[in-house]
C-alpha cells in the first residue's frame, strides 16, 4: 500500500520534470497525560496522517504536503512541489548539489524498546503520576504539576535513488514541576524533575537499581540512566523546593562549577551542538536561529575550542537516545563522528546538499522533519562529551574544589545568535566550600563566553557517571520545527566561571 502511494508520488514528480524526489508517508502518534496535585488535567491522544513530497527541479528544492492519502492526492502534491521548485528556480543562484547516496531497497528499523508505551493502559500512567504528586505533597510541596509525553513516529520513506525505508521510532518523557510557597513573605520557588526524555519505551518508567547513580554526598541527589524513579525524585524535589525558600542568596563572583549531566546537557546543546550545525555556519539560519562564531575560517585558525580534556562526539546511534534512528529523513544510514578532539574543532554536522561545501562526499545522516507536512533539513544529532579516561567519582571531584557551586537540572538558559555569550541557571544549587557541600543556595546564574568556558574545563568524571540529558522540543527553522536530541556527559568541573545574582524586587 505505502509503496504504491510512494511510487505514485515519485513517478508524478519525475513526469513533471523533477531530477530527484523523495516522499515521506507518516503516521505520527502522540499521547500526553497532564496532572496537578490530586487530579488529572488532561489526557490527549493525537494521530496525524499524511505525506510530504520533496523534489529537485531546475536544481531547486520544492516541497508540498497533503493529508489526502491516495494516489491522486500524492501525485497532486508532487506536481505542486515541482511547480514551486520551478517558480523559485528563477531566483536561484547555485543549483543544489547532492552528495551521492545509494538506494537501500526495502529496509526497516525500529527503536529497540521493551514495552510500547502506547500499549500501557492510561489508568496505570495516571496512577503513577498521581502517586508522584502525592509524594511531593507529603514532603511539603504546595503545588505539583506532572506530565508524561509519548511519541511514536511511523515513517515510510522512499526516494528516486531506490530506497524504501520503513521506520518505527519511539520516545518518552516523564516530567514534573514542584512549587513551594511562603504566603507570609509572598515568595515561591520551583524545582523541576531530574528525568530525561529518552528514546525508550515504558520500561523507562520502571526504576532499576543499576540505573541509579548517587550525586554528591549531603545532597540526596540521584542521577538516572536508562530508567527513572519518579516517586523518589518527587519526594526529594519537594524537600529541595522548600529548601530553596530559605536558602542563602548567592554572592556574585567567580566560582568553580561542578555541573551534573542533567544540567550540562543543555550547556553542551547550546554552546557546542548549535554552533557546529553547518547550515548555521554557512548563513542558512541567519534570519531566525542565527549564524555561528565557529566559521570555516575560524576553524582554519586552529584555536582551541576547549581544554585538552574536551572530546565531543556526534551520533545518531546511542541506544536509548532521542537521536537514534536507522536512517535519516533523506535515506542516509546513520553513524558516529567526532566534532571536537582534544579541544580542537575537527568537523561539523551536515546533510546531503551541504557535504560538497566542506569538500566531503557524504552526508552525516542528520536530516529530519518533525511531521509529514514539514520539509526535512539539517537537525542536531546527539552531541555528547566523552567521559574522562581517568577514574574519578563526583565526591572525589567535589573534594578538590575550594570555592564552588554544584548545579543540577534544567533552568533558565539564553545564548546569543552566534553562540558566544551565554547565561544559564539550573533547578537546584549547592555551595561547595573547602571540598565540602555546605547547603542549598539560590538566585544563581552563570554568564560566560563559549570558548572561555570550554577552555576552563578542568576535570571530567569517568564512564560510570555518564548519563543522557535530552531536549524534547528543540526549535529551529522557518516555519519552526521541533526535534528531540540527547546529550551524554559525566559530571564535569569548570574553573573560575562568572556567577551573577538574579534576585530582584518588584
Amino acid at each position: 500500500m505505502n509503496k504504491r502511494l510512494a511510487d505514485a508520488a515519485l513517478n508524478a514528480a519525475k513526469s513533471a520534470g523533477a531530477s530527484y524526489a523523495d516522499v515521506r508517508i507518516g503516521r505520527y502518534l502522540n499521547q500526553s497525560v497532564f496532572t496537578r496535585e490530586k487530579q488529572v488535567q488532561n489526557i490527549a491522544n493525537g494521530e496525524s496522517l499524511g505525506a510530504g513530497v520533496r523534489v529537485l527541479a531546475n536544481g531547486t528544492w520544492g516541497f508540498a504536503a497533503t493529508n489526502q492519502l491516495n494516489e491522486q492526492g500524492l501525485a497532486k502534491a508532487a506536481q505542486l512541489a515541482v511547480q514551486i521548485a520551478k517558480a523559485n528556480s528563477k531566483v536561484q543562484k547555485e543549483p543544489v548539489k547532492l552528495a551521492p547516496q545509494k538506494g537501500f531497497g526495502e529496509v526497516s528499523w525500529k527503536t529497540p524498546i521493551q514495552q510500547n508505551a502506547f500499549e500501557v493502559p492510561v489508568a496505570q500512567k495516571v496512577e503513577l503520576l498521581l502517586a508522584a504528586n502525592a509524594k511531593a505533597l507529603d514532603n511539603g510541596a504546595n503545588f505539583v504539576n506532572s506530565a508524561l509525553f509519548q511519541v511514536n513516529e511511523q515513517k515510510y520513506f522512499a526516494t528516486t535513488d531506490g530506497s524504501y525505508i520503513n521506520q518505527d521510532v519511539h520516545r518518552i518523557w516523564p516530567t514534573f514541576s514542584v512549587t513551594a510557597v511562603d504566603r507570609a513573605s509572598g515568595k515561591f520557588k520551583t524545582r523541576e524533575a531530574l528525568s530525561a526524555p529518552m528514546g525508550l519505551g515504558y520500561e523507562y518508567m520502571v526504576p532499576k537499581a543499576q540505573d541509579k547513580i548517587a550525586g554528591p554526598a549531603d545532597t540526596g541527589l540521584i542521577g538516572y540512566k536508562n530508567s527513572y524513579d519518579i516517586l523518589e525524585d518527587a519526594a526529594l524535589a519537594a524537600k529541595q523546593a522548600k529548601g530553596k525558600l530559605t536558602a542563602t542568596s548567592v554572592t556574585p563572583g567567580k566560582y568553580d562549577l561542578v555541573l551534573d549531566p542533567n544540567h550540562l546537557g543543555l550547556t553542551i546543546h547550546e554552546s557546542v551542538g548549535h554552533p557546529l550545525e553547518l547550515d548555521r555556519v554557512l548563513g542558512y539560519e541567519a534570519n531566525y536561529a542565527g549564524t555561528s562564531f565557529a566559521t570555516l575560517d575560524w576553524r582554519k585558525q586552529g584555536k582551541p575550542y576547549g581544554s585538552k580534556l574536551v572530546n565531543i562526539v556526534a551520533d545518531k546511534l546511542q541506544p536509548g537516545s532521542l537521536g537514534a534512528v536507522g536512517y535519516d529523513d533523506e535515506g542516509v544510514k546513520t553513524k558516529e563522528w567526532d566534532l571536537i578532539k582534544d579541544g580542537k574543532l575537527v568537523d561539523y554536522q551536515k546533510i546531503r546538499d551541504q557535504a560538497h561545501i566542506v569538500g566531503q562526499n557524504e552526508s552525516d545522516g542528520c536530516c529530519y522533519a518533525d511531521s509529514w507536512d514539514s520539509v526535512q533539513f539539517q537537525r542536531m544529532p546527539n552531541v555528547s562529551l566523552r567521559p574522562g579516561a581517568q577514574k574519578l567519582s563526583v565526591d572525589d571531584m567535589v573534594k578538590n574544589v575550594d570555592k564552588g557551586i554544584y548545579i543540577a537540572g534544567r533552568g533558565s538558559y539564553s545564548i546569543d545568535q552566534q553562540r558566544y555569550n551565554f547565561q544559564f541557571g539550573g533547578t537546584v544549587f549547592y555551595a561547595i566550600e573547602k571540598g565540602k557541600i555546605t547547603g542549598q543556595i539560590e538566585d544563581v546564574a552563570y554568564q560566560a563566553n563559549t570558548l572561555e568556558f570550554w577552555n576552563s574545563c578542568a576535570a571530567i568524571c569517568d564512564q560510570s557517571d555518564y548519563r543522557l540529558f535530552g531536549s524534547f522540543f528543540d526549535g529551529k527553522g522557518q516555519p519552526s520545527q521541533v526535534s528531540a536530541v540527547s546529550h551524554g556527559s559525566a559530571t564535569t568541573r569548570f574553573n573560575g566561571v562568572n556567577v551573577i545574582n538574579t534576585a530582584r524586587k518588584v
Binding site: 487530579q39 488529572v40 488535567q41 489526557i43 490527549a44 491522544n45 493525537g46 494521530e47 496525524s48 496522517l49 499524511g50 510530504g52 528544492w61 520544492g62 516541497f63 508540498a64 504536503a65 497533503t66 493529508n67 489526502q68 514551486i84 517558480a87 531566483v91 536561484q92 543562484k93 492510561v122 495516571v126 503545588f143 510557597v181 504566603r183 507570609a184 509572598g186 515568595k187 515561591f188 548563513g283 542558512y284 539560519e285 541567519a286 534570519n287 531566525y288 542565527g290 562564531f293 507536512d373 514539514s374 533558565s412 539564553s414 546569543d416 545568535q417 552566534q418 553562540r419 558566544y420 555569550n421 547565561q423 554568564q447 522557518q478 551573577i500 538574579t502 534576585a503 530582584r504 518588584v506
Partner: protein, 441 residues
C-alpha cells in the same frame, strides 16, 4: 478541502455528535492551507506548501473526560476517533475542575480574512523573495528571509448545540540582511491580514540600511542605559510584552505563585503597578490586528482591558476559576493591543540626549518568575544615540530586566504598530539593565 465553509465544517461536526454515546461532547475542527518561501545567501533555499484539516474530539461521562484527534474524515476514522475519546474518558478519574459545556453563544465579528491573501501563488512568493534578494545584491549585501502566508478556519460544535466558525488569513515576513564581512546585520519584520499591504522591498530596505549602518560597532560598558525599544524588541514569540500579557492568570495569582500574588494572600488586582501611560487590552475586533472571537470551548472573546493607566484592571479567569470566585470568565485568544501616542521612532531618537536604539531582542528566557525577570540579548542593529542623533553602532549586549520594572521607567511612548498580530508602540525606557557584552553580530 483545507478551507471548509461554515456549513461543510458543521456537517462533519454534526456527524461527530451523532456518533457519540457520551453524556457530553465537544469537537473542534481546524484547517489551514499555507505556503512559504525561505531564502539565504541571496538565493532561495527551501519552499513548501501544506494543507491539513484536523479534528479534536472531547467526550465526557459525568466528570470524566478524554480527548482524541484525527485528520482523516471518512466515517470509519471519525467513529474510531470518537470511540477513543470515549474510551479514555471512561478510564479517566473524575475531574474536580469539571464545567458543563456552554450553551449557544453570541460572537463579535472580526475582519480576520482577506481574499487577496487566500489567493497567493508560488510565483507571488518567488517574486517577493527575488525582489528582496535583488535589492541586497545591488548593495553588495546578503539577504536571508522568510515569507509565509496562509488561510485557515476554526469551527466548534458541542452537544448543547453551540456552534462557532471563523476564517483567518495571515502574511508573515521577516528578513535579516548582513554585510559580506559579517560585521553588520539588520532586521525587519511585519505581518498582515491583507497581503495587499505587504511590500517586500520596503521592508528589505529597512533591514539593509541597518546592516550597512551597523558595521564597525564600538563596545560600550554594560550598565543602566536609556533605551528606545523598537516593536521587534518588545514583541515576538518570546517577547517582553508577550510574557507580561501571558502572566495575568488569576488562578496562579490566587495560589501565590505569580508576580500578581499579594503578600499574605490574594491578588494585586486594582494596584497601580506600572507607569500611567501603560494601557493594554485583549481586543479581537481591532481593525488593525483582528484575531479570534471565541476560545477553544466556544467562550466569546471580547475587549478586555488588563492594564488601564498603569493599574491592574483584569486577570484571566478560566470558567472553573471564575465560577469558584463568582466572577465572569474571560476568553483569551492571544492578541493584545498596547495603547500608543503619536511620536515616530525618529521622534523618540530626536528627543534623546544619550541612549541606545535597540532593533530586536533575542533568546529571551525567564530567570525568575517571582519578578518576571528575564534575560536575552540585543541583535541586528544596536546604535548609540547622542544629542538626538544616531552617533555610531555599538556591540550587542546581554540584558537582565523585568517588564514590570521596565514599564515603571517609561520616558516616552511612540505610535502603536502591528506586530505578531498585536499592536505595540516603540518605547523609550530609562535605566534598562545591560549586564555583559557579546561578540555576536
Amino acid at each position: 478541502m483545507p478551507i471548509l465553509s461554515k456549513d461543510d465544517a458543521q456537517a462533519i461536526l454534526k456527524k461527530v455528535m451523532s456518533f457519540t454515546k457520551a453524556d457530553e461532547c465537544e469537537a473542534n475542527l481546524n484547517g489551514r492551507t499555507s505556503g512559504n518561501v525561505r531564502y539565504a545567501r541571496n538565493t532561495v533555499t527551501t519552499a513548501g506548501a501544506a494543507d491539513n484539516v484536523s479534528l479534536v474530539v472531547q467526550c465526557w461521562f459525568g466528570r470524566r473526560s478524554g480527548v482524541a484527534t484525527c485528520n482523516q474524515f471518512d466515517e470509519e476514522t471519525l467513529r474510531r476517533c470518537v470511540q477513543r475519546a470515549e474510551e479514555i474518558a471512561r478510564l479517566a478519574p473524575e475531574d474536580p475542575d469539571y464545567m458543563p459545556r456552554l450553551s449557544p453563544q453570541q460572537y463579535l465579528a472580526a475582519n480576520s480574512f482577506a481574499q487577496s491573501t487566500a489567493g497567493i501563488t508560488p510565483d507571488f512568493r518567488a517574486q517577493a523573495a527575488g525582489d528582496s534578494i535583488a535589492l541586497c545584491e545591488a548593495r553588495k549585501l546578503t539577504a536571508a528571509g522568510y515569507l509565509e502566508d496562509g488561510a485557515s478556519f476554526a469551527a466548534i460544535r458541542n452537544s448543547k448545540g453551540l456552534e462557532a466558525y471563523q476564517q483567518f488569513t495571515n502574511v508573515d515576513f521577516s528578513v535579516t540582511v548582513r554585510t559580506p564581512d559579517g560585521l553588520g546585520s539588520g532586521y525587519a519584520v511585519a505581518d498582515f491580514t491583507d497581503a495587499a499591504k505587504f511590500d517586500a522591498k520596503a521592508l528589505t530596505k529597512v533591514a539593509a540600511d541597518k546592516a550597512s549602518a551597523s558595521v564597525s560597532a564600538k563596545a560600550i560598558e554594560p550598565g543602566k542605559y536609556t533605551v528606545i525599544l523598537e516593536p521587534a524588541a518588545l514583541v515576538s514569540d518570546e517577547g517582553l510584552i508577550n510574557r507580561l500579557v501571558y502572566a495575568f492568570d488569576a488562578r496562579e495569582a490566587d495560589e501565590g505563585r505569580s508576580f500578581l500574588s499579594k503578600k499574605g494572600g490574594g491578588t494585586r488586582k486594582g494596584e497601580k503597578l506600572f507607569d500611567s501611560r501603560v494601557s493594554i487590552s485583549v481586543d479581537p475586533t481591532n481593525p488593525l490586528a483582528p484575531s479570534g472571537v471565541f476560545d477553544n470551548e466556544g467562550l466569546p472573546v471580547k475587549k478586555l482591558p488588563i492594564i488601564e493607566k498603569g493599574v491592574v484592571k483584569n486577570l484571566y479567569y478560566s470558567r472553573f476559576w471564575a465560577e469558584k470566585n463568582k466572577v465572569a470568565p474571560t476568553g483569551f485568544t492571544g492578541n493584545f493591543v498596547m495603547e500608543g501616542g503619536t511620536a515616530s521612532t525618529a521622534d523618540l531618537i530626536k528627543s534623546t540626549q544619550k541612549g541606545i536604539l535597540v532593533t530586536r531582542l533575542w533568546y529571551i528566557r525567564d530567570v525568575d518568575p517571582q519578578t518576571l525577570l528575564v534575560t536575552g540579548l540585543t541583535r541586528d542593529g544596536t546604535f548609540y544615540i547622542e544629542k538626538g542623533k544616531i552617533k555610531h553602532p555599538i556591540k550587542n549586549m546581554r540584558f537582565n530586566e523585568s517588564p514590570v520594572i521596565m514599564l515603571n521607567n517609561i520616558e516616552a511612548v511612540g505610535r502603536a504598530q502591528r506586530l505578531g498580530g498585536n499592536l505595540v508602540p516603540p518605547l523609550k525606557i530609562r535605566d534598562f539593565t545591560f549586564t555583559s557584552l557579546s561578540d555576536a553580530v
